[in-house]
């Protein structure tokens, strides 16, 4: 789980267009409040799909799924356990 969260943080730092350094963002903090826009969230999604080799189904393309590091981790967890 540790390295999943690390990967998410790396991707957010690179693509999330956040206004605060990723180290200052806790797992449950609101990413949109930290500056992530809808457009940036799409780039984050693409990077996550590429890195973890998963596809977010359309029902997961919602603000709430990407609103925090822990929300993203939970979504990835669901997808990866389905694939297993």
């Amino acid at each position: 789980m540790r390295h999943v969260e690390d990967a998410i943080r790396t991707i957010l730092a690179k693509h999330g267009k956040l206004l605060i350094p990723i180290e200052q963002i806790r797992s449950g903090d609101d990413l949109y409040r930290a500056g992530m826009t809808s457009h940036a969230s799409v780039n984050v999604m693409l990077a996550l799909e590429g890195h973890f080799d998963v596809e977010f189904p359309d029902r997961m393309l919602r603000r709430s799924v990407f609103e925090s590091i822990s929300a993203i981790a939970a979504a990835l967890d669901e997808l990866r356990s389905r694939a297993a």
Binding site: M36, S38, H39, V42, L46, F56, R62
Partner: protein, 393 residues
């Protein structure tokens, strides 16, 4: 006696019938003057107030009409057939009401406010545009400055439709002075809370009665007047869908008016030579098919939205729905221009002149606003972004 009661109930005019009456007898009478002078359709809005229609969407428990989105669509369309500026003003006001009805009923302040809207028929204008932002709904520069139970806000808006004539304003702003541009709230300023200064001008090709000049809003109010729901959610679940549906209804009204004149023109020609089909009749058939497609698109999307709301579906806040509701606006805005231009071709020189029973100049100019109010390219860009991750086409 049950039968007598039934008859009495069905004598009560429906919302649509009341709107049709106002459209035909008031809005239509002044539409040309409203357009020529670029003035607010005072008479029609006054009639709408007298009929209590400004609170049509407010729940009956708060003194409103408790109508459905579908009924609002019919009303906007009918008004716009006679005067597109009146239809658009009514639509814009209802979009604001919908935001308050969908997201404000859980507070203590907003239900009381909506009661006032119903009782005194208050007109609400939207202040979402801003200098330096370039038309993006989900970006603000100005910020709410809180001081205990009050807040102040100064907003330089590029466009405020009927800002001068409105009673109250629904305004977007950053949630606080240290909030990022996309972290917004929606708040209400009542007449006594704000001043509207440095008013710009509105001298446009069409929609001339909407009086959409820019201005500077300076206001102070209670923090209770800030909706406690993230604007991102209000936007996705209500402001964008209801805007696209009601604008679509207005454009439908414009298209209907133009095709109606084209049909009258063709019938007139046919009567002169019974037995021969005027050449323009073929073009009328063609544009009629287009009008039906435009209407079907709106009806389908209205049903979809109604169902998602009734089932409280999470899809409402999803990217897939956003894609579809954007497509409605894109398609309808392009259709209305094409349809009115086709109607002009059918009416010929009589359609081109401004002083004939077949004039469609005002309809054409009003229709041209559709692809510009939210520029379609902005919607295409948003959709293109979603299509990078959308799986089911």
């Amino acid at each position: 006696m049950p039968h007598a009661v039934e008859t009495a109930a069905s004598d009560e005019p429906t919302l649509r019938e009341r709107a049709e009456e106002i459209g035909k007898t008031v809005a239509a009478r002044h539409a040309d003057a409203v357009d020529r002078e670029g003035r607010f359709p005072e008479e029609a809005v006054s009639a709408l107030r007298q009929a209590g229609l400004l609170s049509a969407y407010v729940p009956t428990s708060l003194g409103g009409g408790g109508c459905s989105i579908r009924e609002l669509i019919e009303t906007c369309q009918t008004l716009a057939e006679h005067c597109a500026s009146t239809g658009m003003i009514f639509a814009m006001h209802q979009i604001e009401i919908a935001c308050l009805v969908h997201h404000g009923l859980g507070t203590s302040w907003f239900p009381a406010y909506l009661k006032k809207v119903a009782a005194s028929q208050r007109l609400i204008a939207s202040v979402t545009s801003e200098v330096g932002v370039g038309g993006g709904l989900r970006t603000s520069v100005c910020a709410v400055e809180r001081q205990r139970e009050r807040f102040r806000l100064t907003k330089d808006a590029t466009t405020i439709s009927y800002g001068v004539q409105a009673d109250d304003l629904l305004v977007t702003a950053r949630a606080s002075t240290d909030a990022p541009p996309g972290d917004q709230v929606l708040l209400l300023f009542q007449k006594d809370d704000y001043e509207l200064k440095k008013l710009g001008t509105w001298d446009a090709l069409g929609m001339r009665g909407t009086c959409s000049a820019g201005g500077l809003v300076e206001g102070v109010a209670s923090v209770e007047q800030i909706l406690p729901v993230p604007f991102a959610d209000i936007c996705a679940e209500t402001m964008v869908p209801v805007s696209h549906l009601l604008w679509g209804a207005v454009w439908n009204g414009i298209a209907t008016s133009a095709v109606d004149r084209a049909a009258a023109s063709v019938r007139g020609e046919a009567r002169k030579k019974p037995g021969t089909t005027p050449p323009s009749a073929l073009r009328l058939a063609e544009v009629h098919a287009e009008l039906q497609a435009m209407r079907a698109s709106l009806t389908a999307m209205a049903s979809e939205y109604q169902e998602l709301r009734e089932t409280r579906s999470s899809e409402l806040s999803g990217m897939t729905f956003a894609l579809r509701i954007n497509n409605l606006k894109i398609n309808a805005s392009r259709a209305v221009s094409r349809i009115v231009e086709a109607a002009l071709q059918i009416c010929g020189i009589h359609g081109y002149k401004n002083d004939s029973p077949f004039s469609v100049g005002r309809q054409l100019r009003d229709a041209l606003s559709a692809s510009l109010m939210v520029a379609n390219d902005r919607l295409y860009a948003a959709n293109a972004s979603v299509l990078l991750v959308q799986k089911e086409i």
